[in-house]
Symmetry: none
Subunit: 329 residues, 2 copies
Amino acid sequence: MVTRKDVAERAGVSVAVVSYVMNNKTNVKETTRNKVLAVIQELDYRPNLVARSMKTKKTQQLAVLVNNLGNPFEAGILISLERSAMERGYFLFFQKFQPQQEESLKSLFAGRVDGIILLGQSLAMTTIEYFQQQGIPVISIMEPSSNEKGIVPFLDIDWASAMKQLFVHLKSRGYRSIAYLTAGQQMSSQHYEVRNRALIHAAGEEDIQLDELIEVDSCNFETAYRHLVAKWTSQSDFSYQALLCVNDLTAAGAVAACKQLGISVPERLAIVGCEDILMSSQTSPTITTIHYPRLAIGEATLERMLALIQGQAVKNEILKNELVVREST
Amino acid sequence: MVTRKDVAERAGVSVAVVSYVMNNKTNVKETTRNKVLAVIQELDYRPNLVARSMKTKKTQQLAVLVNNLGNPFEAGILISLERSAMERGYFLFFQKFQPQQEESLKSLFAGRVDGIILLGQSLAMTTIEYFQQQGIPVISIMEPSSNEKGIVPFLDIDWASAMKQLFVHLKSRGYRSIAYLTAGQQMSSQHYEVRNRALIHAAGEEDIQLDELIEVDSCNFETAYRHLVAKWTSQSDFSYQALLCVNDLTAAGAVAACKQLGISVPERLAIVGCEDILMSSQTSPTITTIHYPRLAIGEATLERMLALIQGQAVKNEILKNELVVREST
């Protein structure tokens, strides 16, 4: 880690002068000032990190990197995280970012947070390693689909078992052929890929026919609704008996699309979601879904994060899920 | 500073296409994609926050203090704020806090944010003055009910006019006597007080009888649902013809309570919300509500915040609302 002293030595000034420059004091010559600023950039000196660690090693702050601000599913987990953090005297803040902003996270977070919680987000290996070198542990809510695996511990439900349970239910109601609505391949929502894989695996095991794959650009209500209305308007008929949606928002969009087009649910088409957000219990018909233990996972994640901060090892953890059968199947 | 717009112009594409490329969306042709990537490199378009904050003393970070993480109403505003911030190269982070944590905000934010946006939150006068002395402006989404008034500029709809519009509608349907469900006095949700005052004022003007005030501990679905089921179970009858709820989540809870107890909506009781969240269009019956311009208010707030950061004066702003009439009235 670069210190103020390193900057002073390289710039050929005293440590005090470095402090003056950093605090925008006027008692420094313009040429000296420019020299110090150049060295700060050259050495990638992050003053907040140093200032922080001079006072205390810990900030009592945790960052939560979120993928989706608009899904009540994520919001429910955030509420649980926030309550648990407050009880333990931690501040939690939430930040959304785009892949190309990832580099900026380093300067934003270094020295400012004690840990980082990924909520349906993904970081490059180099970024994770950077934070780990800084002593900032990273944990993930929901299994990361690729790069962080094995490096970042995660908490999730067993999606393969949840999907199996769902298919057993569908078969018991006579549905054997399904369509699956999910996010298009290039979407930066890797946690859906875990569900996709679990679905394909479970469909094979339970002898359920995956009749059609419906890909949408964004897993929200409006996108699913519009996509399905357009699709079913142009398509004379479809053979699948049930539509499984990657989350509840899209399932609600599917219910609305069926209502719009006069497709009876569940008689002509059964509809199923994943997550169990509040709205799924209030639509007409109400929606059968996989209940995700939002409260429990928020609490457990915070506990594991505090263990990581204290230098303890943390294993991946699988929480219990539940199939909630409602009117749509 | 290079903006997304500059990249779009140079590449001869729309700003949206630049966003698609940056987000790895698949709906862009390979040639277009390569062109945009080349321009991004050519113009060196990347928010280099460290370099920038050294030059300008600005952090390019804004804090949003939120009151409620669980209401899709606030989430919709956050999404709009976040999009606008990203387009202008700002980072946004969201923080919930309790009144007794307010003092900690000073050390958390000083020197780390360029501005603070209150979203249904409230700060003590001393805290606001502290931030203003630090050159950190504060702006509020929704009118603050008390202390910040006149100090903190706000953006909101005209609640008195919205309530009036609502009462004119209720009268046209024959409803003249209402109950009002809102947050109990001790709740730290001052923005509801603005709605309360507007309601009382408009009821007087439109000669609507406020038959009963129903106070709940928390303005969420579950609390309202339980409160009303208990109340209407123990109460043999009630005289009001319509129930107006301070937000949509509680209105949805009221619809569910009526369904549970066999109270027909709108025949025996009309139900109305405020805010217009997605769920209100999907319940059965769907809920009449006051539409709050979430997208527009997020964009306008960010614009005003940037003006404040540049030292410009900003006035309070009233945005247009709309009455959305649905099946529940």
